[in-house]
Amino acid sequence: MSETYTLVDATLKVIQDRRSIREYTAEPVSEKDLEMILEAARLAPSGENAQPWRYVVVRDAATRKKLGALAGGGSGRRFTAEFVTKKMQERFSSLEDEAKKKAAFEKLTSGKVSAFLADAPVCLVACGKKDVWDMPFDTSAAIENILLMVTALNLGACWVIAPCIDIRDEERLKGLLGIPEGFKAVSIISIGHPVRPHRPRPRLAVKELVFDEKWGERYFKE
């Protein structure tokens, strides 16, 4: 039975239903769905209407494997650094299950946490023109539009910065895809059909987030 929503309720439902999905079925993402996703991205706001975003659609399996290796390599390096400096152990100190802790450490330090890009039917590489004022913010607005449209289409996506956050990896990514000097590789959004539903991650209560007129006085009282 189809459900009917008001526009407000439908919008909120899409926002609430968005998840970071890292496991996909083999079903491809249709061209029609991809066009809807890119249309949502195109309509994002940008400073001075600069529209500095550009996208590379990657479906080729060999290229996706390289992207997965790049992401996994970067994540593996950074999380190993957290492990050898004991920061990871501090982060997981409240997890009492030793087996789960060990598995989490292995997933992070090996880079497997980010290597799933290789298995996503589509990797959408978001790039931003450097010669504008607000590129990081503009491209982030576009990426959020992408994630919400993906959700509305009953697909799943994950915003992956692992292949781009380190300047060395960003250079490798740009070299792989021929992204020119005037553009930054901002992030990769993996897209596909989710294998299974996911529970929402915990969120801070809104009263923790908002102040009244200036910093300090809570907007939402107890």
Partner: protein, 154 residues
């Protein structure tokens, strides 16, 4: 140049201000954008000196250059499996770290470390991660992790 000390103070002040601005902009993500700082110096001065392709020889060559060029007063290292623990004394840029620390910012970039990383990554094709920079007893203690190879998914 009439006053070389003034020029260094001036340069370090600028470096501190730029690093602080970058920290203010990117927070803990800033460190990952700094790994190429020193690359021009590496390409012009360091790379021509790097002949042998083993880790110890490369690290030693970088350290010798840093001392010879007066960038550091002394530098030494210890290998502990995949960890490279480097101690730097009397670095030209020490004042930058001191100012960052005085403003509550943990040091997040290091030119001597970057030169070692650049050498090992280029000559050995081994990924390296700068895990930690600590300033203790007037010396910089660097912790680097040297990985065996870039991962593939083959």
């Amino acid at each position: 140049m009439e006053n070389p000390t003034l020029a260094l103070d001036y340069a370090n002040d600028l470096m501190y201000e730029m690093e602080k601005a970058f920290w203010d902009e990117r927070g803990r993500g800033a460190r990952f954008r700094m790994m190429n700082v020193g690359r021009e110096y590496y390409m012009e001065k360091c790379r021509p000196l790097l002949q042998q392709a083993d880790q110890d020889t490369l690290v030693q060559a970088v350290m010798d250059l840093l001392k010879r060029d007066g960038i550091v007063a002394d530098v030494s290292y210890v290998r502990d499996d995949r960890l490279l623990k480097v101690a730097v004394k009397g670095c030209l840029h020490q004042a930058v770290e001191a100012k960052l620390i005085s403003r509550g910012v943990e040091p997040f970039t290091c030119v001597p470390a970057n030169l070692i990383v650049l050498a090992l990554e280029e000559k050995l094709d081994r990924p390296v991660e700068l895990a930690e920079i600590k300033v203790e007893n007037g010396a910089c203690q660097l912790l680097l992790v040297v990985f065996d190879h870039h991962p593939t998914l083959d």
